[in-house]
Subunit: 539 residues, 2 copies
């Protein structure tokens, strides 16, 4: 019988299980790929936990980014379980739960790095790590089977914005105690070298602000609190005031400021209504929408759709965020339009205006050496990243059998014998779309894809079963069809009439299939492309 088990449930959600006790770590959301038409975001499939509701002891959150807390309100709607987080992370969770009107129903606990939490058979020791948001932690989890170290999202930045490097002492202490397994962030496992320090941006931002003769608009993720701090610091040096555009960033900044994680000098903060009274050279605007989201600030500025702000000649725009794969085209389009409106745009690779919050290969090797675990499990990343991270560990001297490169959903068991990789627990993407959670399945996405290719044609005919005759002309409506309706319609009517001319007594369903086939063939012949055709025969 295994002493302990763990597994990554889905995008940044993990369960640690011992006896009748389960600890859950993080509840992140994932952005849909561009072929997942109509989907807003994706949350983990926690079906496995549903049957074990009574065993859940706690949800531990490592930090306040959306890919770690974005699914939390969905999770808490189903599981009544206390949530543990650091102060800032808790603040950001509160913002989310308030929006969902759930704040009163959730039991929230605050911990600090170096605290010790005793939860059932687990002793949890959070420790500080550097990341692009303050108050991020990794976790030491002592279980009866041994000590698990969970890296969190980390980098080994000796000069972070908040002056607090990753807690190496704690990692070395774990090593001295003996680490059963290290679970480590693989996001940048295909990036050679060391991730540049946050500090490199200080000079860059100051240089840009100094050079710019007008306003400077800096776009980043709403939750990159550290980046906001860096911009504030540079703006203070350059005698510029700062405004924030974008609801989510305004709220995150307010919360971070209240809790002391964002320091904006008195009188430096202005709101969007005040900026028109300021000389452009005295202004920095932080904005959301760095992924080119249609309703984000940056896209609205690029297309002239913001009520209070517009791009003018002389503005300087900085895209200080990495591009989530799939968003490249949209972001390039936004950059082009900003140039078109007369702004100058700084973006990667033109200038180093963003640094990653995740460790690169050399740091990942350092962490392995600092912790020297018996087993190694790469987490957080696509299979290519996990594979690469596993290879790094092998190159660093670990045995193949001590490394588990597994995709989400696999169970890992640890006992006196060692580590065993279990079966993959069946799971799927849970799509969130508007108010619907998990309703949209692959069949619906396939139908949407078909509709998107060459539209849909609807044909209604009235039919007299006894004689097999049509009554009146067919009605044909199309949406998204490339063929010009005017030219095409009369031909299509003839095709429908021919297909609907049948033996007396033919069932209407048969006529419908005949019409659909005939119209479909006709469109293919004209376009070499397939449309969805739906026919209804009214008797």
């Amino acid at each position: 019988m295994p002493l302990g088990g763990l597994g990554e449930v889905g995008k940044n959600m993990m369960a640690v299980e011992y006896g009748r006790n389960i600890l859950v770590i993080d509840a992140g959301l994932m952005f849909p790929e561009s072929d997942m038409l109509g989907i807003d975001y994706i949350i983990p499939d926690w079906g496995y936990l549903r049957a074990k509701k009574d065993l859940l002891r706690a949800m531990i959150i490592t930090h306040g980014h959306m890919d770690h807390i974005g699914a939390l309100h969905h999770f808490l709607a189903e599981f009544k379980v206390p949530v543990y987080a650091t102060r800032l992370t808790r603040g950001l969770i509160e913002v989310q739960l308030k929006q969902e009107h759930m704040l009163a129903d959730v039991e929230l606990h605050t911990f600090a790095p170096r605290d010790v939490l005793e939860l059932g058979p687990f002793t949890i020791e959070p420790y500080h790590v550097c990341h692009s948001i303050p108050d991020t932690v990794g976790l030491g989890i002592t279980t009866p089977a041994g000590l698990i170290v969970h890296s969190g999202d980390y980098k080994l930045d000796p000069t972070p914005t908040d002056g607090q490097p990753t807690d190496v002492d704690k990692l070395l202490e774990f090593r001295d105690r003996g680490v059963l397994v290290l679970l480590s962030d693989s996001t940048n496992a295909d990036q050679p070298g060391v991730t540049p320090s946050e500090a490199v941006l200080n000079g860059v931002f100051q240089g840009i602000m100094e050079e710019a003769s007008g306003r400077v608009i800096i776009a980043t993720f709403a939750s990159l609190i550290s980046r906001i701090q860096q911009v504030v610091d540079a703006a203070a040096q350059q005698g510029r005031k700062i405004a924030i555009a974008g609801r989510a960033m305004v709220e995150n900044a307010r919360m971070a400021r209240e809790l002391g994680y964002l320091r904006i000098p008195e009188g430096m903060s202005v709101n969007l209504d005040e900026i028109k009274h300021l000389p452009p050279k005295q202004l920095v605007i932080m904005a959301t929408g760095s992924q080119g989201e249609p309703m984000g600030i940056l896209n609205r500025l690029a297309t002239g759709r913001h009520p209070a702000l517009e791009i003018r000649k002389g503005d300087t725009v900085v895209l200080s965020s990495h591009t989530i794969p799939g968003n490249e085209e949209v972001i390039h389009g936004v950059i082009n339009r900003l140039f078109q409106r007369g702004a100058y745009v700084h973006y990667d690779p033109l200038a180093q205006v963003h640094v990653s919050g995740h460790a690169s290969q050399e740091e990942q090797k350092l962490l392995l050496d600092m912790v020297r675990p018996r087993y190694f499990v790469p987490i957080h990343g696509e299979l290519r990243h996990l594979t690469q991270h596993g290879r790094l560990a092998r190159d660093a001297g670990m045995a193949e059998e001590a490394i588990a490169v597994v995709e989400n959903g696999y169970e890992l068991f640890f006992d006196q014998e060692g580590m065993q990789i279990g079966e993959r627990i069946p799971g799927r993407y849970i799509f969130v779309e508007g108010a619907l959670v998990g309703e949209t399945g692959p069949a619906v996405l396939q139908e949407r894809d078909a509709l998107a290719q060459n539209g849909v044609v609807l044909v209604v005919v009235r039919y007299h079963r006894r004689t097999g005759d049509l009554i009146g002309a067919p009605r044909i409506i199309s949406r998204g069809l490339a063929l010009n309706a005017g030219d095409w319609m009369s031909n299509a009517e003839r095709v429908v009439c021919r297909a609907a001319t049948v033996e007396p007594g033919t069932a209407p369903e048969v006529v419908e299939r005949r019409v659909e086939q005939a119209v479909s063939d006709h469109i293919y012949e004209l376009t070499r492309s397939t449309s969805v055709v739906v026919s209804m025969v009214v008797e």
Copy 2:
């Protein structure tokens, strides 16, 4: 009156006009963005030339990549104009025209670099440039208004695969004669430094082949003839035979080999049927599909859908091509699946397995200095690249007025007074979709986008106008709707019946709009997402 005019018509197509003479340079295609649902590719809008058909003297092609020749058969179907190209480029054009059954109808001429072509008032001096395909040229075009230098797609690679560096002597000769305007490739204008030489890949490929214990599969664009040569050379060194998978690459390679631009030693080339008899360590396979195209070889290998080839443990796959923006997600998915099947995958940034064929900033500055034109026009690239390239020229000392950063469609005029930027000639994307060219417009794409969001619902009711009553139950069909049909349908029926209960004598169109609105509202209420609803009322 202007002495001469020129303008970029669309993606890599340009017209040079003097008096009653027009020269057209290149006819490229563009890949659709991911929100252009159903579109296969995009060609330039040459409406401007339509009214001036008689003035066209020649089409000059700079090289054989699809973004320079891909629209040629569409163009030649409309304009009977002789085509001039180097030998290899001509060979690749012939492959394309043969496929379209147009080869016999087109007048093709071959030129070599350093030839001089006299075409009406134009004297054309093609000169060799380095690019990722052999036989690429830039153009010197002497007109009565002055000398135009068109850079072609170029880099300044001192150690190219074919041993032929860019013809700097010719560029210096142009400078000595005095250059009116330089039109220069801006593709990499946001890349600092110098583009690495093709030569850096030789060692990389050899290293990968030496290290790999099994087969090596290298994917790239079908037209990257230079890359194929490099792989052949490395394979020869490593005692591996070479097979090519993918129709387009097979045909391009055959043509390049026939013409002497691709050298494969006797007995080294094998076909896909023979490879199973060879030890894996003695084999390299070149494959298409490096952009993750669903029907490309690489995607079919990743998903196990190739009839003759399958990925096995021990295979090494190399993605030797840049990622066209918008394809990142798909390519990442392919890489993950290749890992899943047991291959090891080399890809950027993990290893330098691709170098660009375009000049970076330092080379662009060198070219400017080599040519020292009176005017400078950045071409080939999005507005962000053109802007950047213009800025480089300014930083290099050119006056703002001597630089024309203009998007496609603008006319430029040159006379004794200097350069004037004209109006933008109205133009649009010409979408190619199956057999349809230019039929699909923005309205159709918007309809497809709406369909893709939450599907379509079709409602048919029979209605008695005189009484205002429905006859029988409404029929409701949906496609791509997230709501589960079973649960939802009976509710929807009630909504339809209520909306269709009207005053006697109400027109059916009014009933249709009422039903559509009611169903649409009902769906929004349930899903917070909008579907396309079409209703037909049959009297």
